[in-house]
């Protein structure tokens, strides 16, 4: 089959690889129909997450059809249309039983290795580095899904593909961000990052009772989407002093809840940006925590800071004095997708959450590298490019608001390594 592989920093290749096989009894094989890009992939592509190896297949946010099941798979059958959660949980350990799926003790084959870095092992994640298990990702025609009964959910017939695909990762992450923010009726919520995760955090925040949600980003088309599709007020941090505007618009209190949906590659303005970029380059910090600093500073006294933007290691100049003296609560985590999928189907059906607008660029597999260029550069209105591995040609029916630049341009085609 064909798959999109990480070949080095900012170097992706479509390659011919073996088809996946059932390796354990609880595995299933899924024929991938849609596989989205995600901000987490950018951290791998831009070289900020350790333990990648040339040849790793990328992708973790996907839907497809079951084509084979292992002998111990009980809930799924060949032909089922499923969404698969991006993180892998065994379903039996203490953490899975407590619905803290991304903390699974057993799903990471490199758990012992990971323990040496993080002290404790965490769950495996599809296509997300060897520290997180080294599992082959979903930007491929087929994928092997371990512990399939727990990770793969049948998609109800009335939920279309272009909504279901984001239930794998983007929607549950945004939902969990809002849930961890501990929103009370009447609260003002600030969300940093108007990418797919931020958009879903905004919609979930309204659902959980927020009175107002304010989105912060610098990319105009993403702010526009936050305003029109997710109904947020917006701040462009390049044009305004974020802390001032947030105070100004909340009667001097500051937002009750602050959500970091940006993570380790946060951009910032002025000297702060050069400081973090240099330290990151010299490996003196692995993460650029500009958003985390700002969220801690902006949050009202006694408020909550919820972190789903991914950090890899360590960062500095975190204003801990503010954290402590303002009595803040801080929570974070990789999302526990398995816990939310049934609820999210329900919310999507009721129209309370609608992720379909995020699918801006349906893309054939061979144009994967190009799609990541658009996504990484935040160009061409790209919110999320979705790879359609079963589609060889341009036209993909059914998806809304297609801005299909990728296909128009691919007359020449991108290098496909055989």
């Amino acid at each position: 089959m064909k798959a999109l592989c990480w070949n080095g920093v900012k170097d992706l290749k479509v390659e011919k690889v073996d088809d996946p096989k059932i390796l354990n009894e609880r595995d299933a094989i899924v024929k991938v129909t849609m596989s989205s890009v995600c901000g987490s992939d950018l951290h791998l592509i831009n070289g900020f997450v350790p333990s990648m190896q040339a040849g790793d297949i990328l992708g973790h946010e996907f839907i497809g059809e079951i084509v084979e099941v292992g002998p111990e798979v009980r809930q799924l059958a060949v032909g089922d249309r499923v969404v698969v959660v991006s993180i892998i949980g065994c379903g039996e350990c203490e953490y899975c039983k407590d619905e803290l799926w991304s903390l699974c003790d057993n799903s990471n084959p490199n758990g012992i290795l990971q323990k040496k870095v993080f002290q404790y092992p965490t769950a495996g994640i599809f296509g997300y580095s060897h520290l997180f298990g080294g599992y082959a990702g979903s930007h491929a025609e087929y994928i092997r899904v371990p512990f399939a009964d727990h990770g793969a959910f049948k998609i109800p017939d009335d939920i279309p593909d272009e909504k279901a695909v984001f239930v794998s990762d983007g929607v549950p992450t945004g939902y969990m961000a809002a849930e961890m923010a501990d929103i009370k009726p009447g609260d003002v919520v600030a969300v940093w990052g108007a990418g797919g995760v931020g958009q879903m955090a905004i919609q979930a925040a309204y659902h959980l009772g927020a009175e107002r949600v304010i989105a912060i980003d610098s990319v105009d088309y993403r702010l526009a989407a936050a305003a029109t599709h997710s109904k947020a007020e917006v701040i462009n941090y390049r044009d305004a002093d974020v802390l001032d505007v947030l105070k100004e618009s909340t009667g001097g209190r500051g937002p009750d809840c602050c959500i970091d949906a940006v993570g380790m590659e946060a951009n910032s303005t002025g000297i702060e940006h050069y400081y973090d970029r240099t330290k990151q380059f010299l490996k003196l910090e692995t993460d650029r925590p500009a958003v985390l600093r700002q969220a801690i500073a902006a949050c009202r006294k006694g408020g909550t800071v919820s972190v789903v933007g991914v950090y890899a290691g360590f960062a500095d100049k975190i204003p801990l004095g503010l954290f402590l003296n303002k009595g803040l609560t801080m929570r974070g985590g990789q999302m526990h997708g398995q816990r939310y999928v049934p609820l999210l189907f329900e919310l999507i059906r009721e129209g309370r959450i609608d992720p379909a607008f995020m699918l801006t660029h349906p893309t054939p597999l061979r144009d994967g590298p190009k799609a990541y260029e658009l996504f990484n550069g935040r160009t061409d209105g790209c919110m999320r490019a979705v790879i359609m591995p079963q589609q060889a040609t341009e036209h993909i029916a059914g998806a809304p608001s297609l801005i299909n630049i990728v296909d128009k341009e691919n007359a020449v085609g991108l290098p496909v390594c055989e």
Partner: protein
């Protein structure tokens, strides 16, 4: 499973170096005083060692000379199953190969005695010995030892405690020692220090088998061309 880990131990060391480098760097920065300069230097050194996979000091020492052929692995873990069940599975020594793939077979001869066959890929042969249970306190403790004259000395001890709400806490000790008077080639391979990482992983497999019913793996999954090494930073 075990094959992969053997290949990757260099990687483990590199990741550990990076983590230690980060930790020492953090500690060094924490008390930025005259004494912390060595720690900061060590941190830089560990970063280099981890990041480049190159260790100037090992090279200088001639890495082979610093090997100690005995292997002692200690592990603690919590298994989300009742103590009786956990004890029973380990006590049936024939189950050991189901989570310790380097053991080809463990056959129970009678209540106390057992015959062990170990095999590692690249070991150049099987190695066999007899062992006996030297301590057995049901649901609490199992201890065993290879009998005198075995080609390799193997011993182990497992203790079981209740973990409130969470099943069973276990303490495991597993060791291999060279016998007096020289080593056969197969035994020598078994005592390769890289093997320690394998044992550590295999002990953790016990938890995976008890809870999840399987050992997670990626061996045999597809990948593109492995044109480069695992990139750590």
């Amino acid at each position: 499973m075990s094959r992969k880990i053997v290949k990757n131990v260099g990687t483990t060391e590199r990741i550990v170096s990076i983590a230690l480098g980060a930790y020492l760097g953090y500690n060094g920065l924490k008390n930025l005083r005259y004494q912390s300069v060595p720690a900061l230097l060590a941190s830089g050194y560990l970063f280099v060692r981890g990041g480049l996979g190159y260790c100037p000091i090992s090279r200088w020492l001639g890495k082979k000379d610093i090997h100690n052929p005995a292997i002692n692995v200690k592990a603690v873990m919590t298994v989300n199953k009742p103590r009786e069940e956990v004890y029973r599975y380990w006590r049936a020594l024939a189950n050991l190969p189901s989570f310790m793939p380097h053991l080809h077979e463990v056959a129970e001869i009678d209540e106390r005695r057992s015959h062990w066959i170990a095999e590692m890929p690249g070991m150049g042969g099987k190695i066999e010995w007899d062992a006996e249970i030297v301590k057995d306190e049901p649901n609490e403790l199992i201890g065993w030892q290879s009998i005198n004259g075995s080609p390799v000395k193997n011993a182990g001890k497992v203790q079981f405690y209740d973990a409130p709400r969470r099943g069973t806490e276990m303490r495991v000790i597993f060791s291999y020692h060279p016998p007096a008077g020289g080593l056969g080639t197969a035994a020598a391979k078994l005592l390769n220090p890289l093997f320690k990482g394998v044992i550590e992983n295999e002990i953790y497999n016990f938890k995976r088998v008890m809870e999840a019913g399987e050992i997670p793996t990626t061996d045999g999954q597809p990948a593109g061309k492995r044109t480069g090494k695992l990139k750590l930073i």
